[in-house]
């Protein structure tokens, strides 16, 4: 498996010039009503793990319906594996001002 992931990562690298995070897990932190990072580029097959550090609950809801978390209370996490390339915009359905984007290469 390992050499294959490596090859995928290289392929993604050559396409954009931007270094995407390698397949595996990538963390997104939710704090003070913001996703951090707000823009993330990852390789297909990567799992994103969101963790809410706010005392107020938040959700992760993609605008195209591809993924949607339940309400995350403080210190709750949500994971989603991005199997296919694409650009995924998502919001917090409780505080829709909170917006972020994940690009999957």
């Amino acid at each position: 498996m390992k050499p294959r992931i490596f090859a995928l990562t290289l392929l993604a690298l050559s396409g954009t010039g931007l270094p995407p995070a390698s397949a595996g897990e990538v963390a997104v932190t939710i704090k003070n009503f913001d996703y951090s990072p707000m823009e993330l580029t990852i390789a297909a097959g990567t799992t994103v793990v969101w963790k809410n550090l706010d005392g107020e609950p938040h959700t992760i809801a993609s605008l195209d319906g591809a993924f949607r978390s339940p309400a995350l209370d403080q210190n709750d996490s949500f994971r989603f594996t991005f199997d296919h390339p694409g650009v995924f915009k998502y919001i917090c359905s409780i505080h829709p001002k909170m917006k972020a984007t994940i690009a999957v290469k």
Partner: protein
């Protein structure tokens, strides 16, 4: 235990320290309750509770069940019970089935026999709002929005938390807006109108999404009526605006306060000294006075 006296019950609700808003000739004016005798105020028509957030357990209020129970006790101690209660949303904190069960159990203690509930965004975090509509969807055929008449007043329940605008403001969506137009068309301008929804139906603070995208369109549909009261929750504090014959009013939460617009990183729970908390939670009671004017009194748990 003896029945609490009328004075004690009202004191319990904090009415004595409240401000009374009355509608007279289509214009709301505020006067201090101290100048009004309770006997002149008359029967309560309905009451509004909001943002009970059952399931919340953080420092801002570790006991939201206790404060809701305190609110219900105060309401049940009113000398005269209104015909029905409105709950303007965020019944639960995380839309969990257990939270809805607890909330329903607590609210069933209200002596008021009829409860009308609109969802807040915390109630529909599962997307379609399955848990909410399973419990409160019946009057609206699971649409969430509906209208009814009581004592000559036309009440309209709206849902503005399931169809957000890109800038984060609440929205009704085209279907509901068309329904609202139909519901109001042909209605006599002299009939008093009460509209209730979770998020404010006018823009209080756009950066925090405190408003509704179609607010201006909604207001334009309501302007021809002689008496319109728009009741919302969502912001856990009282904010009021009068525009022509329309009174816009947001209610306190029974769970925890929120910061005033723009104070801090976002509209999260506001931590206050425990002794100050009861004074920031409460209920709104609408009474019809002998001159058939509709008046709102905001009362705290202090």
């Amino acid at each position: 235990m003896t029945e609490p006296s009328r004075r004690d019950a009202l004191k319990c609700l904090g009415v004595g320290a409240g401000t009374l808003f009355t509608l007279s000739g289509g214009v709301f004016s505020a006067f201090d309750m101290a100048e009004a005798r309770i006997e002149e105020v008359g029967m309560p028509l309905f009451l509004q509770i909001s943002d009970t957030h059952i399931g919340f357990n953080k420092d801002a209020n570790p006991d939201v069940i206790g404060t809701l129970n305190g609110t219900i006790d105060a309401i049940n101690a009113l000398p005269q019970q209104p015909a029905f209660a409105l709950h303007t949303g965020d019944v639960t904190h995380l839309s969990k089935a257990g939270e809805f069960d607890t909330a329903s159990q607590l609210l069933s203690r209200l002596k008021v026999s009829e409860l009308h509930v609109v969802p807040g965004e915390h109630d529909v975090t599962d997307g379609p709002g399955a848990q909410f509509f399973a419990r409160f969807g019946k009057p609206s055929g699971n649409r969430g929005y509906y209208s009814f008449d009581a004592k000559g007043v036309h009440f309209i329940a709206l849902v503005n938390v399931m169809n957000f605008k890109p800038n984060g403001l609440g929205a009704l969506g085209e279907e509901q807006l068309n329904w609202l137009k139909g519901d109001l068309s042909g209605r006599s301008a002299s009939q008093p109108i009460v509209v209730f929804a979770h998020m404010p139906l006018w823009t209080i603070y756009e950066p925090w999404g405190w408003g509704t995208g179609e607010g201006e369109e909604i207001a334009s549909l309501l302007r021809r009526f002689g008496s319109v009261t728009v009741l919302n929750g969502h912001i856990h504090q009282i904010v009021q605006k009068v525009e022509g014959n329309i009174l816009f009013h947001t209610a306190r939460s029974t769970a925890y306060p929120q910061p005033s617009a723009g104070s801090g990183p976002g509209p999260g729970p506001l931590l206050v000294p425990p002794a100050e908390l009861p004074g920031m939670l409460g209920v709104t009671v609408a009474v019809a006075d002998k001159k058939r004017r509709l008046a709102l009194t905001d009362s705290t748990l202090a």
